[in-house]
């Protein structure tokens, strides 16, 4: 058999990765038109955040209600670069000050603020996409975890930070684009990101990056570090008494979650073509937690499905029955907490996998690997 488990990937993990890869790289691109594919690409950017939350919350027991902050910071870094490229002096010659982004011109700014300057460089911007959110997460993490703030308090403070950043972005309209965000992004180094070809390509780049993050997350989960995280979640004091510096592990996993979210945010900007404070604040941040909870807070693959499903449901329901969407989302929150604390992944593990394994064994007995593909397909459905 090709799918053989090793230290980092058990057989069922490999099957899960393979199914997800088939879904993202074959089934969706073949089955959907460019518009829908772009929409799914957008959903998948939320999966980055959800993976980060699985690490922080599911494994580490740290619930952050401010992941939107990192998603937003990553997205804004990307958007600032794209906006500067879209505001060349030729393209903006009707403005009273050509060469600066249009919203700055509207807000009577006459020159580019100093902190915008480095974003002329793509290298710097890509660097900033990861580094700025991670540094920010590091500062928050050091301040909180070193003082042993955790659990509920951490959740509330991260939520407050999300609120602060939103108010700041909306208030400083001249520097950030205000409530509309940074819009009208056109090209990346001369390459038009609004064409259908570009959208398809960006979808695949997004998928590939998602898999990179999934692999990193899987390595973290299955390494000694991952086991310490889980031990810490369940019995923090015992881990501390065993001589581990609990705070450092928490800071690390929080920063990793921030980095994933930031990559998702940058890919969001590229695929959707704008970034606004409505992806930063309290409401989107909590919705990101629900993607993770629906998928299963312990399963990184589940988180991807959770992000896809909740967003698909959101788009479908809010188009068809706008009144029902909030009721449905609220009910999902309650149901996930009360009835399915391990989400879809838990359901799969409890009900589907045992039967699947039984099926596997039976078929292996009389025929061998020829039937494997069917079993994988059943799992996908």
């Amino acid at each position: 058999m090709l799918l053989k488990g090793n230290r980092f990937f058990s057989t069922s993990d490999l099957v899960g990765f393979a199914i997800l890869a088939v879904l993202i790289f074959v089934i969706l691109p073949v089955g959907l038109d460019t518009f829908r594919l772009n929409l799914f690409g957008k959903y998948l950017t939320y999966a980055f955040v959800a993976i980060g939350l699985v690490l922080c919350w599911g494994a580490g027991g740290i619930l952050s209600l401010g992941q939107g902050v990192f998603f937003g910071l990553g997205g804004y870094c990307m958007a600032m670069f794209l906006k500067l490229e879209a505001s060349s002096p030729e393209a903006t010659k009707i403005q009273s000050t050509p060469g600066i982004p249009d919203f700055m011109d509207w807000n009577q700014l006459t020159e580019l603020p100093l902190w915008w300057e480095p974003f002329h460089s793509l290298t710097f911007s890509l660097f900033a996409v990861i580094v700025i959110p991670v540094v920010f997460a590091f500062i928050i993490g050091v301040a909180m975890f070193r003082r042993r703030v955790g659990g509920v308090y951490f959740a509330i403070i991260t939520q407050a930070i999300a609120a602060i950043l939103t108010i700041l972005i909306i208030g400083q309209q001249g520097y950030t684009g205000g409530v509309n965000g940074i819009t009208d992004l056109r090209t990346l180094k001369g390459w038009d990101i609004r064409t259908d070809d570009a959208k398809v390509l960006l979808y695949f780049v997004n998928g590939a990056l998602l898999f990179v993050c999934l692999f990193i997350a899987q390595l973290i989960r299955k390494s000694k570090l991952g086991r310490i995280l889980i031990a810490m979640r369940d019995q923090e004091d015992r881990v501390r008494f065993s001589g581990y510096d609990v705070a450092n592990f928490k800071i690390f996993v929080f920063c990793a979650g921030a980095a994933f979210s930031a990559v998702g945010g940058a890919m969001f900007t590229l695929q959707v073509g704008f970034m606004s404070p409505s992806f930063v604040g309290i409401v989107p941040s909590i919705e990101m937690v629900i993607f993770c909870a629906v998928g299963g807070r312990l399963s990184i693959i589940g988180a991807v499905y959770g992000a896809l499903l909740v967003n698909l449901a959101k788009t479908t329901f809010s188009e068809l029955f706008p009144e029902l969407w909030l009721l449905g989302l609220g009910a999902v929150f309650i149901a996930v907490v009360l009835a399915f604390p391990n989400g879809l992944a838990g359901l799969y593990k409890d009900h589907v996998e045992p039967r699947l394994l039984a099926l596997f064994k039976k078929k292996m007995g009389d025929d061998g690997s020829a039937e494997d593909f069917d079993a994988i397909k059943t799992a996908a459905e």
């Binding site: 209600l65 909180m144 407050a160 309290i282 009144e323 989302l329 907490v337």
Partner: protein
């Protein structure tokens, strides 16, 4: 920036601004009291707290319509009845929520957060379907409109004074309930050691339900008081929730006095800074300071000395 004003005008500005801060303070206290009971005492994170306040506001709105249509002669005092109704309606809903949702989650505080957030989404949609998406304002009885001229320059709005009186009254009531009644003793016993409290004969389930109900009821009264100074829409509750939690956490979760002190400092800081800066920057700076202080002193201003 002060050069354009005379001394008298400056004094008046500071007095008015200080008074605006006091009204904000009363609002914060009213919002935070219910949460101080639910979060501070029980440790339950009720993200639907804002929606309970909106329920109180909506009850007030309905009562005012009822009085205006059927017994206009008593319209000037409808507000007192409305507050009592708001208390009981929200308390009843709170107890229902505790029974159906919260009691399963006492051991999983982070999950209560998500579940009550779901509840808040549902309540928002219900309000939107029942009362419409637009903000509703109630008609204030005549004696509450207008303002008291203190000097030539300083005027104090009467509804502001009313809200302040209410805040003081409710805080006193909550204080007496929590620290001077046998019920309060039971609540504190249950939160400190559930098993032991049960062993000495306290009905812990009933205490929990009642505590949650009263916390929600106080939120309802707060919402009712809000209708006096502004209008309420279906999503208004969400705007308050971060402020409210920060007030309670900043004060030190289990301390009522801390809640009041933190409400005072946050509201004064914000309203004074609002005079110098734009409203959004004042808010950002205030929240940042609070978060900063909480990072340095996670237990809040007034911490109970407890061994854990």
């Amino acid at each position: 920036m002060f050069a354009d004003y005379t001394m008298g005008e400056l004094g008046a500005i500071f007095a008015m601004q200080g008074f605006a801060g006091l009204i904000l303070f009363s609002v914060f206290v009213l919002m935070a009291l219910g949460l101080a009971i639910i979060f501070g005492q029980m440790g339950v994170i009720n993200m639907a707290h804002g929606e309970f306040m909106i329920l109180g506001a909506n009850v007030t709105y309905l009562t005012s319509n009822l009085f205006a249509n059927y017994i206009p002669s008593l319209f000037s005092i409808y507000f007192f009845l409305a507050m009592i109704l708001a208390f009981f309606v929200t308390a009843a809903l709170g107890m229902l929520v505790e029974w159906s949702l919260i009691r399963h989650l006492y051991k999983r505080p982070l999950d209560t957060l998500l579940a009550t957030w779901g509840l808040s989404l549902i309540l928002q949609q219900v309000y939107r379907s029942v009362f419409g998406a637009r903000e509703v304002g109630v008609t204030i009885p005549e004696w509450m409109m207008g303002s008291l001229p203190l000097t030539d320059l300083i005027e104090i709005p009467i509804n502001g004074i009313f809200v302040m009186v209410l805040a003081v009254g409710i805080s006193t009531a909550v204080y007496i309930m929590m620290f001077r009644s046998s019920w309060g003793k039971q609540v504190r016993a249950v939160t400190q050691n559930r098993v032991m409290a049960g062993a000495v004969g306290i009905n812990t389930e009933r205490t929990d339900r009642l505590t949650f109900g009263i916390g929600c009821g106080v939120a309802g009264v707060a919402g009712s008081a809000f209708t006096m100074i502004g209008s309420t829409g279906p999503t208004a509750g969400q705007l308050y929730i971060v402020d409210t939690f920060l007030v309670v956490v900043f004060g030190g979760a289990a301390s009522l006095l801390g809640t009041i002190a933190s409400a005072f400092s946050i509201s004064q800081a914000q309203s004074i800074m609002e005079f110098f800066l734009s409203g959004s920057m004042a808010k950002v700076l205030t929240l940042l300071t609070v978060v900063g202080i909480l990072m340095l002193r996670p237990q809040g201003l007034f911490a109970l000395k407890l061994r854990k």
